[in-house]
């Protein structure tokens, strides 16, 4: 992460590169589920974190799962093994943006734990993210395409050229979106007195 410590890895498999990744892609494309697991497992944690930063921890799991199922279906279209990770990232960001857009079109009730809204939640709370409701609110105020740029640059630690590639944008467009997003976030916290 840009300006932050590296996340610990507990992955079962090392990232697949070069010929082995190509072999795994070919095998998975022919329906070998084990090969697919070996291929994508090293990337699951980073994808999950991206999803969490994009849509919040509650929906991160669904978005990650949908991404991996979708990638399985589309795997035959992946011709370059060295593009696996950015390709997965693109699929995930696309899905996450769709979730955010749907959310903006059909906004849910604001979640306020202080008001007791979390009392009857059926899922386990995520202790690491307690106390970040203000940040969630600030990020939720960004257009999905702006949030995408912020997350890819600061959480995934991608240079702007790769951010632009991931989102299918020109680098200048990505930079202007980042600038606008940062301005918006700063304004939010200034107004909130943070």
């Amino acid at each position: 992460m840009r300006s932050g410590g590296a996340a610990p890895r507990t992955d079962r498999f090392e990232p697949s590169t070069g010929a082995s990744a190509r072999t795994l892609i070919d095998r998975a494309s022919r329906g070998d589920v084990d090969a697919y697991e070996r291929l994508v497992h090293p990337h699951v944690a980073s994808l999950y974190r991206l999803a969490a930063a994009m849509v919040g921890p509650d929906e991160a799991r669904d978005v990650t799962q949908e991404t991996l199922v979708s990638a399985w279906r589309e795997l035959r279209g992946l011709k370059r093994a060295d593009r696996l990770e950015p390709w997965l990232r693109s699929i995930l960001m696309n899905r996450a943006r769709n979730v955010l857009r749907t959310r903006r079109r059909h906004p849910a009730v604001t979640f306020e734990p202080e008001a007791g809204h979390g009392d009857r939640l059926h899922h386990e709370p995520i202790p690491a993210l307690h106390g970040h409701w203000a940040v969630e609110e600030a990020l939720a105020g960004l257009p999905p395409e702006h949030r995408s740029v912020v997350v890819l640059h600061y959480l995934a630690d991608l240079p702007m050229r790769q951010v632009a590639e991931t989102l299918g944008l020109r680098e200048g467009t990505a930079r202007s979106r980042l600038h606008a997003a940062l301005q918006s976030l700063r304004r939010h916290f200034e107004e909130a007195g943070a």
Partner: protein, 394 residues
Amino acid sequence: MNRDLDTTRLPEPVERYFREVATMQPPAELMDDVLERIEATSAPRRTILSFAPIAAAVLSVAVIGAGVWALSQAGPVGVPGPGADESPIPAQSPTAVPAAASPDVDALPRAEFPMRDLEVAVQYPLRAAGHGSLWISNWDLNTIVRWDPGTGVEQARIDLGRRGVMQRDQRDAAILVTDEAVYAAAPDDRIVAIDPATNDVTEFASGVRAADLATDGSTLWVVDLHYDEVVRFDLATGDEIARILMPDSPSKIDLSAGDAWVVSQVGILVRIDGELNDIAAEYEIGAGKTYLDVAGDAIFISGMFQPLEHFSIRDSAVVRRGANLGEVQLVSGRLVGLDRQGHLAFLDPQTLEWTSVIGVGEFHVGTIVVGAGGIWVDVYHDPDRTTLFVETGA
């Protein structure tokens, strides 16, 4: 460092939040759930892949558009725009207007237009007609076949340039014919321009995965299904003018009165203000819509053998629903569409009632292309492809 002057630094609360997100681990069962879902669907997937050409053709026709040719077929401009009080997403239910039952085709008159069969020996679907040719895309071989319907001779097999990947979501391989050039989706997220006089190919634009194309004469509008965007290019220079983020899975575009209308597969109809290059309105119309044709106040929308719908721009609502049809297009003031039973149906656009039919034979996949004096109907029924020409004068 003065934080106010550091314009690239995240606000501290967000930075702290991201640091914590970066330590999160996915639930242990996440990958197992993915594998379970994959295994549950892997058998049918293999079956589909074994019939890849058919599956690809079915997929392609699901998104083959009226949009490419709709501009030339659209009614007069000067359409009243939606009212100032329009809601971005009106609450109107897509099923509020009942659908019509399929008519008894045996009782309908046969369409009076002359028709002839063509032997097009290319196993890929038609995409466009113009410059004395039928234009047939071939996504596997990265070529476009140009075919002379008069002589039955293949005129050219045009290589689209560097080898690359034609992604699944652009395998409808859109082609748009204008007076000056033929624009085509190409691998590696490119659009190429073909000189119809020489068949020379030049790269027109990159960074866009074209699912559909339309032009207003000075700009090229491109629907990018993969990245959920509509991208607009200056036709003369190829410069990108605007990139407009769309609701999920936009598939088809048509232009009218300076605005662009885009239908998305998840059931959102979008109006893009052509002056502002921004979304002006969104309407829920029901999922699965893949064809769109705008004429005056009417937008005709259909999906893969779904009820044909007439969306009124003035009323911001679906005002009439017809019987199920696949692709539909406006031709010389009539609607034409393919039904699942192998008919090309002619409809009254006011009532959506069928007025006459032509039998085109059973098919898995059917495509309608309009231009060069008529309607070209391309039907595929494994292993045969048949192309019919219906001479309407269009």
